[in-house]
Symmetry: C2
């Protein structure tokens, strides 16, 4: 695969904002079963090897897993405070569950699990998220560091439209990157 042309400005933003731990967080919008939008902060976990797909992790028991099963479209909004720039990444989401039949993706899921800290892994052993508070379910034994818990999911975003806005210019700069099977990636400068 070739690196998509938006990877280079995104890598630059990540580098220039590396002193802020939360510059690796972005907001992921999905669609609820009733058609309303949903939006939450997630952590960027790098790119899936040799692809332009962003990695995140999630819990199969979370609302977003059900939402993605019903509607795979998502838009990430990633704001970088230090350089004052925003990337909006629109595309399709893939939820890699424990019953995934693609061996390569299952292996990527296991690696994402192994890369977590103990503190991050143990959260997947907590009581069911979103149900009334149950204070007894938050002291589980540490889960195995090699084999993911069954409801641990790798989540991938395969973007086909990226909107990059740099607020620092005067006027600001805005570029739209689009992918089509016929011509691959193209880029257009647009008015901010």
């Amino acid at each position: 695969m070739t690196l998509a042309p938006w990877r280079s400005p995104l890598a630059r933003a990540l580098h220039r904002n590396r002193s802020l731990v939360y510059a690796r967080y972005f907001q992921l919008a999905t669609i609820r079963a009733d058609g309303h939008p949903a939006n939450r902060t997630v952590v960027f976990r790098g790119f899936l090897d040799n692809t332009n797909q962003l990695k995140m992790i999630t819990d199969a028991r979370s609302e977003k897993a059900d939402q993605i099963d019903q509607n795979a479209w998502g838009e990430a909004c990633w704001y970088f405070p230090k350089t004052r720039e925003q990337f909006r990444l629109l595309g399709q989401l893939t939820l890699v569950r424990d019953n995934c039949t693609d061996a390569h993706l299952l292996e990527a899921r296991a690696r994402s699990w192994q890369e977590l800290s103990d503190a991050a892994r143990v959260q997947f052993a907590w009581s069911n998220p979103g149900v009334p508070r149950d204070d007894t379910g938050f002291n589980p034994p540490l889960p195995d560091a090699i084999t993911p818990l069954s409801h641990f999911c790798l989540l991938l975003l395969d973007s086909t439209r990226i909107d990059h806005l740099e607020l620092k210019g005067d006027p600001q700069n805005r570029s739209i990157y689009s992918f089509s099977d016929a011509i691959g990636w193209s880029m257009q400068s647009v008015n901010p």
Copy 2:
């Protein structure tokens, strides 16, 4: 009106994060005409007097204005880096355009315009956003400081479900605030 119960933790978060200018930015998810989600960073402009509605501003020529005309639902995701907490605010959006028939809202729109800096106001005189870059359209005269340009919009979010997550606890704390006409606001602690 009474202050909704989530206003107090939100005010606390705003106060504790006040040293970060970007703690007043959040991400607003809406639905595109084709049913896909859209997500972008917006600036919090306070609350509409005597209501629990969040104020933002936007340009009637932007994609989100069309999206909101077709589907008024939105979810704001607001992450506060310093206190490591997130508010998700789901509700209906109201776009206050220049032809709004509600005198009170029109007046609020004019006030929002007047509160902007010259630098922020002049952006509404720039060339059409989102169309191919046109470098001639970014040196307009300063618009009038009292009367808004016609495509300046006040945007309001009237939330009916707020999901407040505090990452700092061990375990974390999560509260859901819901509004119904019959019982007003209620709050439930849920598992994070």
